[in-house]
């Protein structure tokens, strides 16, 4: 008999769920035997821009009236000659040439649109960040928001890689007290939506993400051994099905044929993973020495591990799309490294006091301060004539503006990386008041090669990135 507690869902279930979510489109899309020139398409598509969309919650100190005067987020000057020193982005100075700041855009769809929605900003806004759509207020399964831009990209171009996209997060999902005001927890738990009704689970355990990317096994040797075994087992299954087919009647044989074609697809996948692991990572010491055991206690360590995985995955071309939720709304986490001992959520309610706003800005600074670690990793990986940093678009932002009043105006947002030449870097743009962040997202999608996408959420027109 099963456990009386109802069903404790093993973590693995969640992970398998996540695995299945990504594996299925992959398999279905992997019809490469039939796709002309698939061999070349891989090499040419290596030029395809890698996308990382990072969400940080709770807005920024620079989005407050006073904070703006202090340039806690946006630098004072627009254009190329801006001073990052007072801003939360000061740590990005070494990557200035890869940095494009778009300040003062609004995320209007995260605002309440009906009276019952008032107050539910924390439990609504994450779902808006990449969809820029307005979530339906419901606690049931009839959730509805929009398809997120990372998923639009992955659905279009993600099939060249074994895994179209991966979703990562840092904080625990489905927290007690984590969701309220009539909003389902999924709005708070993920930023990636495969369709307006399909939230994608985010992986918190680095080990699970690792297994998904590189196969099960704690060490490179073990993984290699497992791959060898899998290949033998597949060959065996193939032989068995062939043999069976001679005995089956025609109806059953057709059904089995389908199974057989699936086997070949999986076989291809194993080969692909192996090729990439061997070619890209063979004599590379950058590979994690051992697969991570689980979730590290420290925020710092956890985030960096996740960045390691993302860089590794890009390097092996296992996937080209990550969404990464670095925070969770209403989180009471304390970031000792930031030098602030107030928990995140209480600190975000700064009461419009200058001292508190300044304090909150240090938390923002700390969060952004983790990004250079990732950027330098990307910069260190050479692919052809460029580095991965040249080829990557890292979006970092928050769907909230001033957290004290839960508004969604003048939200923090910057884009790092060269995006394959689409982003010049070294630029600070200040949007006209009332410009939807969706406009920026729309332009970014165009830069990613989704030129035919004409709108996202409440976008009104593409945002102009010219200085």
């Amino acid at each position: 008999m099963k456990i009386l507690t109802g069903k404790p869902i093993p973590r693995r279930t969640f992970l398998r769920g996540a695995g299945a979510t990504v594996a299925l489109p992959f398999l279905e899309a992997m019809l490469p035997a039939r796709r002309a020139g698939s061999a070349t398409s891989v090499s040419t598509s290596l030029e395809r821009t890698r996308l990382v969309a990072i969400e940080m919650v709770h807005g920024a100190a620079g989005s407050t009236k006073w904070g703006a005067t202090q340039n806690f987020w946006a630098p004072a000057a627009t254009g190329r000659d801006f001073d990052l020193t007072p801003t939360a982005m000061s740590s990005l100075e070494p990557f200035r040439d890869y940095l494009t700041i778009v300040s003062d855009t609004d995320v209007e769809n995260a605002e309440a649109s009906t009276p019952p929605e008032i107050g539910g900003d924390h439990f609504r806004s994450s779902a808006v960040f990449l969809t820029q759509a307005h979530p339906r207020q419901t606690e049931s399964s009839d959730v509805h928001v929009g398809t997120s831009m990372d998923q639009i990209y992955a659905q279009r171009f993600g099939q060249d890689t074994p895994i179209p996209s991966i979703q990562l997060c840092i904080e625990n999902v489905d927290q007690g007290g984590g969701c309220a005001y009539g909003y389902s927890c999924v709005y708070t738990d993920t930023v990636s939506w495969a369709s307006p009704t399909e939230p994608l689970p985010m992986i918190r355990d680095p080990r699970a993400a690792f297994d998904l990317l590189f196969g099960a096994g704690g060490t490179p040797e073990e993984r290699a051994a497992r791959r060898r075994t899998s290949k033998s087992v597949l060959d065996f299954v193939l032989g068995e099905v062939d043999r069976l087919n001679q005995e089956l009647d025609p109806v059953d044989r057709r059904r089995m044929d389908q199974y057989l074609s699936n086997i070949r697809e999986i076989e291809r996948r194993i080969q692909k993973v192996e090729e990439r692991n061997l070619s890209a990572l063979k004599d590379d010491t950058r590979e994690l020495k051992a697969a991570p055991a689980g979730v590290p206690d420290s925020f710092d360590e956890h985030v960096k591990l996740m960045f390691d995985l993302q860089a590794l995955a890009f390097e092996g071309d296992m996937t080209r799309v990550f969404s990464f939720k670095m925070g969770r709304d209403a989180s009471g986490r304390v970031y000792p490294e930031s030098g602030v001992d107030k928990p995140f959520h209480p600190a975000s309610h700064h009461g419009d006091k200058e001292k508190n706003i300044e304090e909150f800005s240090r938390i923002n600074r700390y969060h952004v301060g983790l990004i250079p670690y990732f950027l330098s990793k990307l910069a260190s990986i050479q692919e052809g004539e460029k580095t991965l940093l040249d080829k990557t678009m890292v979006i970092y932002g928050s769907p909230m503006g001033d957290p004290n009043v839960h508004n969604h105006k003048r939200c923090p947002l910057f884009i790092a990386g060269g995006a394959n030449g689409k982003l010049e870097g070294g630029l600070h743009l200040r949007a006209k008041p009332g410009t939807p962040m969706a406009n920026v997202m729309l332009s970014l999608m165009h830069m990613l090669g989704l030129e035919d996408v004409t709108s996202l959420g409440n976008s009104t027109e593409p945002f102009s990135f010219s200085a």
Binding site: T13, G177, T229, L248, D249, G294, V295, G332
Partner: protein
């Protein structure tokens, strides 16, 4: 010469089902046509009426409207005269909200204008979700040579005193009649003026002055099943379509009698007076051709046909097919006779009269004649080619050879046996006659089946999650959660083992491969395993006051799981707790911890019941702490293999918690309210994470390893032979048959691959991975016959053994069964019976309860049920689990004690633990163990008193008589009601309060049922559920609902009055044949792994018939299924089938 009439758009008006007064235009828009000539009228007559919003005061609207109408009608008619180009006829698209939601385009001809001599094609009217739509009204007279348009003309002078003929002579129309009519019927419907005129101008026999028929009556006596017949109408001839009220079709009971007289018989397909050939629906993309039309004989005046009808009525007796003829005549109203809307209106009413005549009494004759009379006079009344009630026509049905249309005949049998046909409100033949008809049909069908047996066939099955778990358990003594690897099973016809619904997808294949890889490693153990984390979540609905199953005694709450440890080594355990929005530990408030600071609450981590760690709960834990609201153990050494791990609170208090609000078993109903003042709450475990192994030291002996390594090689030379022994034993067990050399060779090469990699054990593990991934294991393939010619063949003994064991145990066959099969003894009926009886007494037969009954009775629907915490604060996960267990044990007991299947309804006992007994209010049951308990009274007998069934058919905050009724109809009687038509508002969700008090569920429902569109079906469904209203949404007994005494009275669809659950049980027992057949059908579908088809029904009846001799014992049904040809035989795949299935498999 002549022009071409172009299709133009016509608005479709759909009655607002919720509010009969509202007229709402379909977004679909309509089609058909409005002649341009109508436009001037549009401009002239502007009616400031509607659409009405729900909630408007109807009385005011009505008087205003009738006032306007009295002005409108003459003006319109007069105005029409001034505009000769007015289209004369109207279109009525009739539409029944039917069972099936398929698209069926119909076409409507375009009316023409002067100078037009033919129609340019037709317009497609494609009404989604509506089973059929018909054109009732005439389509106008399209003359061969330039069409001569006619004006609308009034049948009678309008307004003022007027003589109206009736059977009782002439009566004077009272001036205010129309207005009164509207007023008196306000609650039900509102009619458009001209239609009403048409209605009372009509002579209707026995119109005794009530005069409040409207022409629109529920249906042609076919009753409740179809009272929504007029769901949609198209009014073509009338402009201002969205401002006119639309007829609302069905009426309440009050008009039922009238309905018989004046119901409607819809016309099949568009009837066009002048059209020579029948209209055939054409797909939209096929560009229908232009249809030349010519004018036939002038139409018969409506009045004349009415008279004609009355003649028939007076002299009695119309031929069965007569009404179609009448129809044809009536469908051509003379242009000078009647205005558009009225024409069609009358047609419906008059045809209803015909129908009544057809249902006249018949003389007694031989039984087949009686049966024939029943079919013709009762069944065909509605189930004809024209009405297509239930989308079923008996026109071609031949009572002397029902087997020729066996599928149809089986449908008849099903409805007849359930007592559902003919529906109430229709002349009902005597029960004897109905019985005779059913018996006749069954006899013929059964004889035919005996002469032409058809065991049916299905494709091969695959192991679903449950079977996979069972197989792994048998093979490797390892309990796994198959959901970790395999995608969810697709259900079909209630069950998760239906072969053709089991898709072989890439995800599935990946799942089996991953399963093979992980399970083989878990079973053999992995001394080199690296650390990783596994998290077990605890749902919020688990009460933390009660002990969790598996956790040590003296603990409360928490979680208890069996975790498979891959190696001996150290593991870390982390427990995390729910916290409040502010970050503080949930349940840390003043009144919530029951211990002092010096003696804090503690949580114990135990391995196989032995304490491994005791962690004090720091009530000041906070999310902002470095460790958050988590507690961690030191590394703990655990041996490899499955071990039970529990994390549970030490119980430091006894008895109920007294608090200001009330004892709250559900300890963390919501984090936002649970820490409210005066409401006790406790710290609540959120999850348990196990990380490891660190420093693995090897792999201890586990049961799995003992099971696998039946030999140990003494020397390197002995490795291969030993491996071969292991592989052939495991392989044979996994493949459920002896292994041949061709099976063994590839497995042994896998062994060699592994052995090269890591020696003997890895070799065996690799071979095991192969076995678990093999199609011979994951698919339940059955051997084809030696000779391919026969139509059907007995399946192989070994395959029969597998069918038997997966049926009765949900696991692969055991050694004895395999042995019997190998000795070819299963073909012997006595041996077969012996084996079945042996298997039924085996504990594994509980799978019949946990797998079969669980799915048949839909107990899985209980999982997502979380009754509203404020209304049912004492409901929690453990109680739900007890409910489910009750039903499982109950069914298990029926099988084990081989009791009558009728006890499903009548059992005077059940199985309870203390928790559930308390919930039911049954005293004297203490402790966690379930035991047999006899009910003290008749209120809660059989399944209908089980908390599981009553809860899963409820909503979170209230009961649902609809869901309960539907459950009974569907699950117990096998006669599911049709799904609600689209766009129907949630029943019972209308106003919930009135005059300052909440309405009871019944009151809410009755309000809603006032909507005629809903009434026809709900009158069948709801009384069943209402009889159970004394059980609240969690199955507890109650006397009041929202402060109102519960009213359980009602009437079963067959007319049996219902007052109590006991009445309902008795009434259902009257249809025990249906119950037993439904049970058998389900049992059979589950056993066969395919849906039960009409051609299986003779076998089902045979099983039930034979079980009767055995007092309907459970074993009789099981044996009946096992002995049936469908279970033991298989039809060979025909070449047709091969072709047919080729593409989509």
């Amino acid at each position: 010469m002549g022009g071409v009439a172009k299709p133009r758009s016509l608005h479709v008006i759909e009655r607002d089902l919720e509010n009969p007064l509202g007229a709402e235009r379909l977004p679909l828009e309509g089609l058909a046509s409005v002649p341009t000539a109508l436009h001037p009228r549009n401009a002239l007559v502007a009616l400031p009426l509607g659409p009405f919003l729900p909630g408007m005061i109807r009385e005011g609207v009505l008087s205003k409207r009738s006032e306007l109408q009295s002005e409108l009608t003459p003006s319109r008619l007069g105005e029409a005269r001034r505009h000769p180009h007015v289209m004369e006829p109207s279109f009525f698209v009739e539409e029944a909200k039917q069972e099936r939601a398929h698209r069926r385009p119909i076409r409507i001809l375009v009316p023409s204008e002067s100078g037009e001599d033919h129609v340019d094609g037709t317009v497609m009217l494609d009404l989604e979700h509506h089973a059929f739509s018909r054109l009732v009204g005439s389509v106008g007279r399209l003359r061969h040579d330039p069409v001569e348009p006619r004006a609308l003309e009034a049948l009678e002078p309008i307004g003022g005193d007027r003589a109206v003929a009736s059977d009782r002579g002439q009566v004077n129309r009272r001036p205010c009649f129309r207005e009164r009519l509207l007023e008196t019927r306000a609650a039900l419907r509102e009619r458009q003026g001209s239609q009403i005129l048409a209605a009372f101008a009509q002579k209707v026999p026995e119109d005794d002055g009530s005069r409040d028929f409207g022409g629109e009556l529920p249906d042609a006596g076919c009753g409740r099943m179809k009272a929504q017949l007029q769901g949609l109408e198209v009014e073509a001839g009338l402009p201002l379509d969205d401002q006119l009220p639309v007829d609302d079709g069905a009426l309440g009971k009050r008009f039922e009698k009238r309905g018989l007289e004046l119901g409607e018989i819809p016309v099949q397909g568009p009837e066009v007076a002048a059209l020579q050939k029948p209209l055939v629906p054409v797909p939209e993309d096929q560009n229908p051709e232009a249809v030349p039309l010519r004018l036939e004989d002038p139409g018969v005046a409506l009045r004349e046909s009415v008279d004609e009808l009355r003649e028939h009525r007076l002299h009695g007796g119309l031929e069965g097919k007569f009404h179609a003829g009448i129809l044809a005549v009536l469908a051509r109203p003379s242009g000078s006779m009647v205005s558009s809307a009225r024409g069609a209106m009358r047609i419906k009413a008059i045809l209803g009269g015909v129908a009544l005549l057809l249902a006249g009494p018949v003389g007694a004759a031989s039984s087949i004649d009686t049966s024939r009379a029943v079919v013709e006079e009762s069944c065909q009344l509605c189930h004809n080619g024209a009405s297509l009630a239930g989308n079923m026509s008996l026109d071609a049905f031949d009572l002397s050879a029902p087997e020729a249309t066996a599928e149809l005949a089986e449908k008849m049998v099903r409805k007849l046996r359930a007592g559902m046909m003919p529906p109430a409100g229709v002349p009902r033949p005597s029960e004897e006659d109905l019985e005779a008809l059913a018996a006749h049909l069954e006899t013929r069908l059964d004889e035919n089946a005996a002469a032409h047996p058809n065991p049916g066939r299905r494709t091969f099955q695959r192991l679903n999650r449950a079977e996979y778990e069972g197989s792994i358990h048998d093979l490797l003594a390892l309990d796994i959660e198959a959901e970790d690897y395999l995608p969810p099973d697709t259900k079909s016809a209630n069950f998760d083992n239906i072969a053709d619904a089991q898709m072989l997808s890439a995800t599935l294949l990946e799942g089996y491969l991953r399963g093979a890889s992980e399970v083989s490693r878990l079973a053999v153990g992995d001394p080199k395993a690296t650390a990783r984390e596994a998290t077990y979540k605890v749902t919020r609905w688990v009460s933390q006051t009660e002990q969790v199953e598996g956790a040590p005694y003296g603990t409360r709450g928490g979680v208890s799981v069996i975790h498979n440890f891959p190696a001996d080594g150290h593991y870390l355990f982390r427990v995390s707790f729910h916290h409040e929005t502010t970050g503080a530990l949930h349940g840390s408030g003043q009144a919530t911890l029951h211990t002092s600071p010096e003696n804090p609450e503690q949580i114990e981590i135990s391995v196989n019941g032995e304490r491994a760690a005791l962690l004090p709960i720091d009530r000041w834990m906070h999310v902002s702490d470095p460790n958050g609201v988590n507690l961690r153990t030191q590394p703990i050494f655990v041996r490899a293999g499955p071990q039970r791990i529990s994390a549970a609170f030490l119980k430091k208090f006894e008895g109920p918690v007294q608090d200001l609000i009330r004892p709250h078993d559900w300890s963390i109903a919501s984090t936002s309210i649970a820490d409210a003042y005066g409401m006790t709450s406790l710290p609540h475990l959120r999850d348990l994470a196990i990380t490891g192994p660190y420093d693995p030291t090897g792999v201890s002996e586990t049961e799995s390893r003992r099971k696998i390594f039946s030999c140990r090689p003494a020397s390197p030379a002995g490795e291969a032979p030993c491996a071969e022994a292991i592989v052939s034993r495991l392989g044979s067990q996994a493949y459920r048959r002896p292994l041949g050399p061709r099976d063994l060779a590839p497995l042994m090469s896998l062994y060699r691959v592994g052995a090269e990699e890591g020696g003997f054990e890895v070799g065996v593990r690799t071979a095991l991975e192969g076995i678990l991934a093999s199609p011979h294991f994951v698919f339940r393939l059955e051997e084809p016959p030696a000779s391919g010619n026969s139509k059907s063949y007995p399946i192989h003994d070994l395959d029969l053994a597998s069918r038997l064991s997966f049926f009765l145990w949900g696991t692969p066959p055991d050694a004895e069964l395999v042995k019997t099969a190998q000795e070819a003894r299963l073909a012997d009926p006595e041996e077969l019976e012996r084996q079945v009886r042996r298997m039924l007494t085996d504990p594994r037969a509980q799978a019949l309860a946990t797998r079969f009954a669980e799915q048949w009775l839909r107990l899985a629907d209980l999982d997502p049920m979380h009754p509203d915490v404020r209304m049912y604060p004492d409901f929690h996960e453990q109680l739900k689990r007890s409910m489910r267990r009750e039903t499982e044990l109950f069914f298990e007991n029926l099988v084990r004690e081989d009791r009558s299947a009728l006890e499903l309804l009548t059992a005077e006992y059940t199985f309870l633990d203390e928790r559930l007994a308390r919930h039911y209010g049954i005293p004297g049951v203490t402790g966690e163990d379930f035991r047999r308990v006899s009910y003290p009274d008749a209120l809660r007998r059989g399944l209908l008193g089980h908390g599981s069934i009553l809860t899963l058919t409820s909503h979170a905050h209230r009961t649902s008589p609809v869901l309960r009724g539907k459950w009974v109809l569907e699950v117990l009687l096998g006669t599911p009601p049709p799904p609600p038509p689209p766009d129907v508002p949630e029943l019972e969700e209308s106003g919930e309060a009135e005059q300052g008090r909440l309405l009871s569920v019944r009151e809410q429902m009755e309000r809603h049922r006032a909507s005629p569109a809903c009434q026809s079906c709900h009158v069948m469904i709801d009384p069943i559920g209402l009889a159970l209203e004394n059980f609240d949404a969690t199955g507890a007994w109650r006397r009041k609902d929202n402060g109102v005494p519960v009213d359980t009275s009602g009437e079963l669809y067959d007319g049996t009055p219902l007052e109590s659950p006991e009445d309902l049980r008795q009434a259902l027992l009257n249809h025990s044949t249906s119950l037993l057949r439904t049970f058998t059908e389900n049992l059979m579908a589950y056993a066969l792994g395919r849906r039960v088809e009409y051609y299986d029904m003779p076998a089902v009846r045979k099983i039930v018939r034979e079980a009767k001799a055995d007092d309907y014992r459970m074993s009789a049904f099981v044996l009946g299924v096992v002995r049936s040809p469908a279970f033991r035989m298989k039809a060979a795949a025909t070449s047709d089938e091969t072709e047919a299935h080729g593409g989509n498999r």
